[in-house]
Amino acid sequence: MTSATLFGYCGAAMVGLGLFGLITNPHVLRKILAFNVLGAGVFLMFGVIARRGAAAGLGGDPVPQALVITGIVVAFSATALAVALLVRLHSETGQTTVSSEDPPSSSGQGVRS
């Protein structure tokens, strides 16, 4: 087994762990965190593919590496927007969880059909 393959398994494990946290933890902040763990796993697998493509005197294929850099920045943008949405949700409703049950109608303005 090479180091690249080892980190590939590592990335696969991180995707699974992140997905698990995303599904099971009701707190939205923890969902955002889990989503970032998932993303880090995906990026890592990308890096393994880049490393395997080492050629022309380079340590890795620069194209996937550049895509990962773009991906990390976009993931950060999405995280910032998600955090802002969560903080606003909390200040409006006092809630920090999303559940399938009906939200408490404390505001009294919810339109019910």
Binding site: M1, S3, T5, L6, F7, G8, Y9, C10, G11, A12, V15, G16, L17, L19, F20, I23, T24, N25, P26, L29, R30, L33, N36, V37, A40, F43, G47, V48, I49, R51, R52, G53, A55, A56, L58, G59, G60, D61, P62, Q65, A66, L67, I69, T70, I72, V73, V74, A75, F76, S77, A78, A80, L81, V83, A84, L86, V87, R88, H90, T96
Partner: protein, 313 residues
């Protein structure tokens, strides 16, 4: 087993263990600190994968700024810490089994990757000399896939517009409510006076060196943003109101100049974002310089959040 593989084995085990702990930790702040540690470990992994450019980005953005953003939110949502209803056992088991299946599938993909691996490295290197850049990753970002890079800057701005649009009506155009985790104490103020001169130089160097060595606009911009946030947190400077003209100008100058260079390509090199022969490097360096500045301000304001207090007239 050689020493390098043993090191990688330990690193991989630590990485997965801390990722699992991040998910399982009880306290929000504890989980975020673990995530930050994982981000720094990942940076080491990226170095092991010979991707130093990505390692710098991961350490700066993945581990650093993202964690800072999440810590700010966790501080603000402190009263919601306790988990009211833990997830049901059946849900945990089902989700666990499904996620294990996903991981196993991805591991199988890694196991069955084609050999020899497909690669674009020779093509990337073959045309790199024409761009005048020495760093193949910078070549991909600013020459071959420049449109991706341009759109990514636009995504950053769109995210900022999204964050700002969450402001209350009366606070629009006002000062972002940068969350304070600790009252500014003497150590924080001392660090905020000591580090920025060094950090600003490191940030500019990272952008400048990025043309021929690992580094670049994102990494340099993130370091600049970190220095700015440190000064703001220590209250050595006020957070600027989002309606100030210089703030808006700094936000858009990088992307606008990049788009302008893109349209210049139509006139002088017959394609959008094409560089005329011999002028590729100067144009890329000009675009990168302004982008570094714009990225720094955008990242700083993304962390600062939506405006909360009205601008003092």
């Amino acid at each position: 087993m050689n020493v390098a593989l043993a090191f990688d084995l330990g690193l991989a085990a630590l990485l997965v263990a801390i990722a699992g702990w991040t998910i399982a930790a009880r306290a929000n702040i504890g989980a975020i600190v673990l995530f930050m540690v994982d981000g720094l470990l990942l940076a080491i992994v990226w170095v092991r994968l010979s991707a130093v450019d990505v390692a710098l980005t991961e350490a700066a953005i993945g581990g650093g700024v993202t964690s800072m953003l999440l810590l700010g939110a966790a501080t603000r949502l402190k009263d919601t810490e306790s988990n009211p209803e833990p997830a049901k056992l059946t849900l945990l088991l089902t989700a666990g089994a499904l996620c294990a299946l996903v991981s196993a599938g991805l591991a199988a993909v890694v196991f069955f990757l084609p050999d020899p691996a497909p690669t674009l490295a020779p093509v990337a290197m073959a045309n790199l000399a024409e761009t005048g850049l020495g760093n193949p990753v910078a070549g991909v970002l600013f020459a071959y896939r420049a449109l991706d890079t341009l759109l990514e800057k636009v995504v950053l701005l769109l995210a900022l517009v999204g964050v700002w649009s969450l402001a209350r009506d009366e606070a629009w155009g006002g000062v972002p409510g940068l969350r304070v985790y600790a009252r500014p104490n003497t150590i924080l103020v001392f660090l905020a006076q000591l580090l920025p001169p060094i950090g600003i130089m490191v940030g500019i160097y990272m952008f400048w060196a990025g043309a021929s060595q690992p580094g670049g606009a994102f990494q340099g911009g993130t370091v600049l943003a970190a220095m700015w946030l440190l000064v703001l947190l220590a209250r050595l400077q006020q957070v600027p109101a989002i309606s100030l003209p210089w703030v808006r100008l700094l936000l858009v100058i990088g992307p606008v100049l990049f788009v302008a260079i893109g349209f210049l390509g139509f006139l002088v090199a017959d394609a959008f974002l094409a560089y005329p022969p011999g002028y590729a490097k100067p144009l890329i360096v000009i675009a990168e310089a302004t982008l570094t500045l714009s990225i720094g301000v955008t990242l700083g304001l993304l962390v600062a959040g939506p405006p909360e207090t009205r601008l003092q007239q």
